[in-house]
């Protein structure tokens, strides 16, 4: 475990640059990663609105595997984004590794939450 309580096998890094909040994920997101990831994602919408960013970019390219329980955190975040409606001021971009079929499938399912606001880059 790191000092943030995140398992060493899974890393979350975020930074803001040019009004883009970049979230870089790496490693294996299994049950050990669920709680810290959910905590991070719960605060993500508020942080993004507070920082006034135009885009939140979530980089999955170095995530080898993510289980469905971890995806629940993204479902909750995107549900909050969807509820915000016009109050939302940022776009969402998922960076995906096309070699990993689970990313293509799962990110496509997540995109259904806001087809106009979410785009997937390979």
């Amino acid at each position: 475990m790191t000092s943030d309580g995140i398992p060493a096998a899974f890393l979350i890094d975020s930074r803001v640059r040019d009004r883009v909040l970049s979230v870089v994920l790496a490693g294996t997101a299994d049950m050990d990663a669920r709680a810290p990831l959910q905590t991070f994602l719960r605060a993500l919408h508020t942080q993004a609105c507070g920082l006034g960013v135009q885009e939140v970019a979530v980089d999955f390219r170095n995530v080898e595997f993510m289980n469905s329980s971890c995806f629940k955190g993204f479902v909750d975040w995107l549900s909050e984004v969807q509820r915000a409606g016009t109050e939302r001021h940022y776009q969402i971009r998922f960076l995906s590794n096309p070699a990993l079929t689970w990313q293509r499938r799962s990110l496509q399912a997540l995109r259904c939450f806001a087809m106009d606001a979410i785009r997937i880059e390979h």
Binding site: N67, Q82, W102, R105, A109, C112
Partner: protein, 532 residues
């Protein structure tokens, strides 16, 4: 538990009594891709309670014994010194009285004789007499022959001077009318007292040591019987409880705090066992829901179907269904994101919803069915149950003539063509069911064509995400290769081969595994035989 179904054999659906059962391996709570349980927090077992008690008790008793030893030896030394001083004072007083006359008459020879008489006392090592007027020495002797006489001062009369090895007593020799005539000094040896003191000190040391050791043994014996053993018994019982050894009791009969703790532990243990049993009952119910609701009749005109679901220790929420309709049939496969009873309930909702909607309109569009089903499931799970589970789900409608229409979001579909070639991959890109209130617009309808003899494979992520001992997943490519290896075999053989390959790969059964193998009948005669 492994539930296998097939319609490719003369007995299309096996009765419940023939369901092949296997002992489910333990696995952590999870849904589609569980992870191993976190390791137990390392508990430092040293120093143990007994060791701590031994150390503390020994330290305290040693400290107490040392203090007692010091005090007793100090008193012994004082007592010996006091006795010696009393005897020395008596000798000095008598000698001072006997010497005043010789000194008064200046009969120094008589005085020397009197002083020499002290040699008879073996405790006296030296004696000296000095005149008052001239301060000259009248008489002196020393047992060792040395002339180390030190003349006392004129005011030297006082308590004996206690040295390390000797005791010196000084007296003024006076006439009865108190006129000073001389000064007397007698030095007594303390060898006998020192020997007695050393012997006494050794005796006291061993007495204190024996008391400390005896007390420590008794105290530790009592502590072991009344504290350490019961606590160890409770720790062992707690471990047994953790290992799932059913009801565990600690036999402690004392009425003190340890007894009360043991009683509380026993009560808690019974409560834990009851809760475990209730939880297990719930899981059993959920497992029964998941497995008993599976279709027993896999017959759809024109298709050979074999399916199997291997459940892990907790219900992972895998789902598949086969529904025959007058003009074809429906296939469904899905996986609930949660686990346990909630996953079982959601799986039941999916099954019931699909069955109702398909029976209502057997020719419905898979997109319409999944969209309507999503509304029901979303409302039930989010609004009524207050849960946040969702499910991957893909519905296939067999329209006959090789056409399969589908909608939903689940694992890719794999197809091995009868004509040969590599395993084909068909993507399913719909939304997850139950994750959002309305998925219309996110459930694109796709279609695929199965030629006679083509085999379609539906599966859950329990296969592709099964990890080996090093954490490497079985993966999509290995599944394709394994599928290609048996592409020409019967659907039951394909099913068994795939499950066997994954089981051989996987280090543990972490998640449910579901396989549905579908082959379009090669000939009309075969299709007719299957239908009958």
């Amino acid at each position: 538990m492994l539930v296998e179904r097939s319609n490719s054999s003369p007995v299309a659906a096996r009765p419940a009594s023939e369901l092949r059962l296997s002992t489910p391996a333990r696995r952590p709570a999870s849904s589609m891709t569980p992870s191993p349980p976190p390791p137990r927090a390392a508990v430092r077992r040293w120093p143990s309670l007994g060791t701590k008690l031994v150390l503390v008790t020994t330290l305290v008793l040693m400290l107490g014994s040392a203090l007692l030893f010091v005090e007793l030896t100090r008193r012994e030394r004082e007592q010996l010194s006091r006795g010696k001083a009393t005897a020395a004072n008596m000798v000095a007083d008598l000698m001072a009285i006997s010497l005043w006359a010789p000194l008064d008459f200046e009969d120094h020879e008589a005085a020397r004789t009197d002083l020499q008489n002290l040699r008879a006392n073996p405790d006296i090592v030296s004696a000296g007499l000095w005149s008052w007027k001239a301060d000259d020495r009248v008489a002196f002797w020393a047992r060792d022959g040395t002339d180390s006489a030190r003349m006392p001062g004129r005011d030297a009369e006082g308590p004996p001077e206690l040295g390390e090895t000797s005791l010196q007593v000084t007296r003024l020799v006076k006439t009865p009318d108190a006129r000073p005539l001389g000064r007397l000094s007698i030095v007594f040896s303390l060898d006998a007292e020192r020997a007695a003191y050393e012997a006494s000190r050794r005796r006291l040391f061993w007495i204190c040591f024996a008391m400390a050791a005896g007390s420590a043994i008794v105290l530790l014996g009592v502590a072991r019987r009344t504290i350490i053993s019961p606590v160890r018994a409770m720790a062992a019982a707690a471990q047994q409880l953790e290992d799932g050894h059913g009801e565990v009791r600690v036999d402690v009969r004392s009425g003190d705090e340890i007894g009360q703790l043991a009683h509380a532990f026993n009560t808690m243990g019974m409560a834990v066992v009851e809760r475990q049993q209730r939880f297990q009952d719930e899981l059993d119910i959920a497992t029964r829901i998941q497995t008993c609701i599976l279709p027993r009749d896999l017959r759809i005109v024109g298709l050979e179907i074999a399916a199997a679901m291997r459940t892990a220790s907790e219900v992972g929420g895998d789902y598949y269904d086969v529904l025959a309709t007058p003009k074809g049939g429906w296939l469904a496969i899905g996986d609930v994101s949660g686990h346990g009873l909630n996953a079982g309930l959601m799986m039941l909702m999916l099954q019931s919803g699909v069955a109702a909607l398909v029976r209502q309109d057997p020719e419905a569009s898979p997109t319409d069915v999944t969209t309507t089903l999503n509304r029901v499931v979303y409302d039930n799970v989010r609004a009524r149950l207050g849960k946040d589970d969702h499910a991957t789900l893909c519905l296939f409608r067999w329209a006959g003539e090789g056409k399969m229409v589908f909608a939903g979001g689940h694992e890719d579909v794999l197809i091995c063509r009868a004509r040969g070639g590599a395993c084909e991959v068909v993507e399913t890109e719909g939304a997850w069911v139950g994750s959002m209130p309305d998925v219309s617009g996110c459930m694109p309808e796709g279609s695929l064509q199965l030629d006679p003899g083509d085999v379609m494979l539906l599966y859950t992520d329990g296969l592709t995400e099964a990890p080996d001992a090093h954490g490497q997943l079985f993966g999509h490519d290995r599944l394709c290769r394994a599928f290609e290896e048996v592409r020409d075999a019967g659907v039951s053989e394909i099913r068994d081969h795939l499950l066997a390959r994954v089981r051989a790969w996987a280090a543990e059964d972490r998640d449910d595994m579901t396989v549905v193998v579908v082959r379009r009948a090669a000939t009309a005669a075969a299709a007719s035989a299957l239908a009958s």
